[in-house]
């Protein structure tokens, strides 16, 4: 998930910090030091993360648009000027715009706000924003909660005592509350110095920027992988099950399904699955960058030549057009597949389904999926021309079962017309005629619309009188019979108006089985 660093460049950030030693530091230097550490960490361990840099005082400016080039971000840090007062609201509004323009409203973002805890004065100060929060209209809505899923991390270039001496901490906590509690405030432990700033940013890195390492398993075939971006914990139902669920570090493949069968399923998130080589110290070699580029290159080359299960799996998934179903935790599943970024580049991807025993109705309950070898006969057919998927639901949906809806007159008219059309083609259309007649009869009975039955009966009788001389004699018999049956049903008397009863065609001497009559 992309990161926006929002850096306070108001005058208060230039307040000096007493440090033993020769050089004099300002708070902004401490901030820049901390951010440098963050950027260096990301460049090494989290280098696919997109990061943008915004600076603000009473105005805000996008210094660096979303990028993976941490050198540019680093350079921008050293090119920051000092401006006037802190005006957080407009900066947060700016963040909203920047993120939505780039990523839309669905992609989660992390906002790292770096400030000294002086929240400005007068209009536009955080105090003022919070005080007027309840009197806002839709048009000047406070930017929090952010319109996209988010985490707001506030990095204070101040220690707890300093913040508590004013109401700054309370205001910042309100800010997190306004973001639906998504986020955290970090303060400097002890005196303001480079070391303590480092430890504060270290905590942020541990919380939000540690790479997610896992083991991908398919029976005995395994591979160490990094999953990027990190899968975030998920809350299934805040009432029944309020504890967030995190995915296992063992990603266990349970079986395979054709892409046509899985059929573009809805997913919570997508992640790259990057194979990594763990050396003895447990440091990764692979997507990371070590200090010594030469070492890294040779290490990468060796790693590139050792067969890796991810590459095998990816190749076969791509060639076969299949996905691997993977278990992420108790009753939580996902799928692995080959994703092509361009014609040349492609990658192993993992998508997470919503947690639960049955994330995709067309696959059914995941626990009920078993190996085809347990089935009596191969459900995919001998020539691979069948599939056990999708599962059919027990009840058909209204659009798949020819329901009767007469709310609009046209619905009723169409149904009556169908009967009439078939009535004029008797006896050829006897079957359809009675089918439509019975459908109408059932609906009329259910809706208590007995008048309609009488009306249609009258209509059929009239049709009988209008039959041309050339008409088949059976037509008249059937029409009279149908009309009479509808009439008795329209009385509502239980013996004739039973819902399950169907009007059957009259057996006449003209119909095929006529000879058997009497």
């Amino acid at each position: 998930m992309p990161t926006v660093v929002v850096m306070d460049v108001s005058l208060s950030m230039t307040r000096p910090v007493a440090v033993e030693g020769s050089e004099e530091y300002q708070r902004k230097h401490l901030a820049a030091h901390g951010l440098t550490m963050l950027f260096e960490h990301m460049a090494t361990n989290y280098k696919l993360e997109f990061t943008a840099l915004v600076v603000f005082s009473s105005l805000w400016e996008l210094m660096v648009p979303f990028t993976r080039d941490y050198n540019t971000l680093q350079e921008a840090l050293s090119n920051m000027d000092d401006y006037d007062k802190t005006c957080l609201e407009s900066a947060l509004l700016g963040v909203c715009n920047i993120v939505q323009q780039e990523w839309g409203a669905a992609i989660p973002c992390q906002v790292v706000l770096v400030t000294d805890g002086c929240l400005g004065i007068g209009r536009g100060s955080l105090r003022h924003s919070l005080a007027t929060h309840s009197q806002r209209s839709e048009s000047n809505r406070f930017p929090l909660p952010f319109p996209f899923p988010s985490k707001l991390y506030v990095m204070c270039m101040a220690n707890l005592e300093e913040l508590q001496s004013t109401d700054s901490l309370d205001c910042l906590e309100r800010l997190i509350d306004l973001n639906n509690g998504e986020g955290q405030i970090f303060t400097i432990d002890g005196p303001l110095c480079l070391k303590n700033v480092q430890s504060m940013f270290g905590k942020l890195i541990d919380l939000a920027y540690t790479p997610f390492h896992a083991v991908l398993k398919c029976g005995h075939l395994t591979s160490d992988v990094q999953v990027f971006p990190r899968p975030e914990p998920f809350i299934i139902d805040e009432e029944i099950d309020p504890i967030p669920k995190a995915i296992n570090t063992d990603l266990e493949i349970v079986g395979f399904v054709d892409i046509a069968d899985i059929s573009s399923p809805p997913v919570l998130s997508r992640h790259l699955v990057l194979p990594i080589a763990l050396n003895r110290e447990g440091d990764e070699v692979g997507p990371g960058i070590t200090d010594d580029t030469e070492d890294e290159n040779s290490a990468n080359q060796i790693a590139g030549k050792i067969p890796n299960f991810c590459v095998l799996l990816h190749g076969s998934l791509k060639v076969e057009g299949m996905v691997a179903l993977v278990q992420l935790g108790p009753e939580w599943y996902g799928m692995l597949y080959s994703q092509a970024d361009s014609k040349k580049k492609s990658n192993l991807m993992m998508s997470l389904f919503e947690p639960g025993p049955e994330p995709l109705p067309w696959l059914g309950k995941m626990a009920q999926l078993g190996p085809i070898s347990d089935a009596k006969e191969n459900p995919y057919g001998e020539d691979d021309n069948k599939s056990p998927f999708p599962l059919q639901p027990k009840n058909k949906r209204s659009y798949a079962q020819n329901v009767t809806v007469w709310i609009k007159p046209s619905g009723l008219q169409t149904d009556v017309q169908k009967i009439l059309r078939n009535a004029r083609k008797l006896p050829e259309k006897t079957q359809t005629f009675y089918k439509e007649l019975n459908r109408l009869r059932k609906a009329a009975l259910a809706f208590g619309f007995l008048e309609l039955l009488k009306g249609v009966a009258d209509m059929l009788e009239r049709e009988c009188t209008l039959l041309p001389d050339t008409a088949h004699p059976d037509a008249a018999f059937q029409l009279t019979h149908a009309a009479q049956q509808l009439k008795v049903a329209s009385t509502g008397a239980s013996e004739y108006a039973a819902y399950d009863h169907n009007i059957a065609p009259l057996q006449t001497d003209f119909s095929s089985s006529g000879a058997e009559r009497m």
Binding site: Q100, L312, H314, L360, S398, G492
Partner: protein, 705 residues
Amino acid sequence: MKIFSESHKTVFVVDHCPYMAESCRQHVEFDMLVKNRTQGIIPLAPISKSLWTCSVESSMEYCRIMYDIFPFKKLVNFIVSDSGAHVLNSWTQEDQNLQELMAALAAVGPPNPRADPECCSILHGLVAAVEALCKITEYQHEARTTLMENAERVGNRGRIICITNAKSDSHVRMLEDCVQETIHEHNKLAANSDHLMQIQKCELVLIHTYPVGEDSLVSDRPKKELSPVLTSEVHSVRAGRHLATKLNLLVQQHFDLASTTITNIPMKEEQHANTSANYDVELLHHKEAHVDFLKSGDNHVGGNSREGTFKETVTLKWCTPRTNSVELHYCTGAYRISPVDVNSRPSSCLTNFLLNGRSVLLEQPRKSGSKVISHMLSSHGGEIFLHVLSSSRSILEDPPSISEGCGGRVTDYRITDFGEFMRENRLTPFLEPRYKIDGSLEIPLERAKDQLEKHTRYWPMIISQTTIFNMQAVVPLASVIVKEAMTDEDVLNCQKTIYNLVDMERKNDPLPISTVGTRGKGPKRDEQYRIMWNELETLVRAHINNSDKHQRVLECLMACRSKPPEEEERKKRGRKREDKEDKSEKLGKDYEDKPWQESERLKGLLDREKEELAEAEVIKDSPDSPEPPNKKPLITMDEMPTVEKAKGPMSLLSLWSNRINTANSRKHQEFIGRLNSVNNKAELYQHLKEENGMETTENGKAGRQ
């Protein structure tokens, strides 16, 4: 997200008193005369529905939409009230479908206008509705059972939709009071019962309906809290289509639905089959499908009228599907749909098209700019879903290709074999419960994992790591040995395979190992067979604990490979075969520690070394691995001390290091840069500097980016 919100339980209470038999005074022409038969015939008089018919068909439409979009976990209890309450169904999932309700309604029939109005009342129904809300649903029961001590987290909320004809505002108040009192009483009862649940929250929706043209005696009232448990709202609606419209709005409100209109659907004209016109179809679905529009407040969405909050619909354009190719779209949500006008021709054309298995992409109409595909309509097993496709920039763009990462330079993965493996390990649903021998329930998914475990006990990933999997002759054995249980026939086939191999050895048939690894002469034939037999033994040993029959296959294998007279002769020639076999046997025994992987990896590395020498001959089976950069062997075969040349007892390690050393020392010579380097650092692109000083620095910059 909450499962047990108010919309988990909906009780319909429909008035069945004599006055509901009254006409709604809205006429329906049902005798539409067809052209050319009209002469001289007077159409039959139009008919009109009763208040009852209007109420019932509107509430059925409410249920239809609800069941289409939420077939599970959203339940309806239908109650009809006259001289008593008639409960038409229960909360059980089997009772939750239109057919059941229609049949039950038919059994009730229309209200009897001649019944005594004094004994009839909607109150009976309302009391029964409260009772019904206290009853536990199977979902609530299941949740309470699984949560055990946290069972109190399971909420009990519900909604009562009451369609009646009230006499006045004070009559309405009387109904509300009655509901409140009944809830109070029943909550006391429920407190002492295991089978009932107290109502935490109840939404009462009172709909007063009256014939068109009459004045309403009851006034509308927005939602109001009558007590912490009960809220109530009053809607005064004319019967006929007005009532249907109201219930359609309510179902959208109650279940957080939104509307999408698919526009520009090309359709053959009914009358003129060779022309086609464009139609629109309106669908309802959960509003999450519009989450992108809602949050970003995008105004580009067409047909979005601000006034009349519920007339809003998002218009999306049909994109005629060009191919039938199956693609895996990045889809962030899929929501069941229900057509607003289910029986209309455009609706049924669209739904039938989808039910036949085609998918349709939907495009956001934009005044300018590029085409944005934001949704897809697709059916899965007779259910149509609106898929939300991600249309924003991907945070995963431009990822490193898999060929750049670990294992990316290996070119001889057994891609085809693993594809076969995947097809064998495909999944299928087992809907009937199965039991293990000990009587416990068997979980099919655990069986699937079990099978993967068995099938991968010995599975070399690359072609040059294996001999037996490159041999057609081994297939009959390899395919059955991984089974949990073998038949006698399977054992026989395995034995035949082994005899066949023995036969091949006697005939001195070549093995695939020689052609993969080296150019020209490979390892000697008997060495090849030794490697093959060892590998086969590893495979079989990995499965001997499956059953006695597996054991029998091993016995056969051991008997065959140690006996042949030729072998004996060769042993006399001084080969230390026995030692090696013992060693490999030991390794094979505890396959679970994956010793084969170690030894195979070593062998694999050795083999790959060879393979680098003869890359032109490698089977390129990995589509993502790059072409080998240099097909010319670095060193020629003659200079290589090969395995077969080594005489006497030589350890694998010394073989390996000898070889690596030789190979490396030769490779080193080629780095001119390293020869000319200062402190192990060589300047790159020196020639460019000489040719054009300026460009060098620019290139340098570009390289760093």
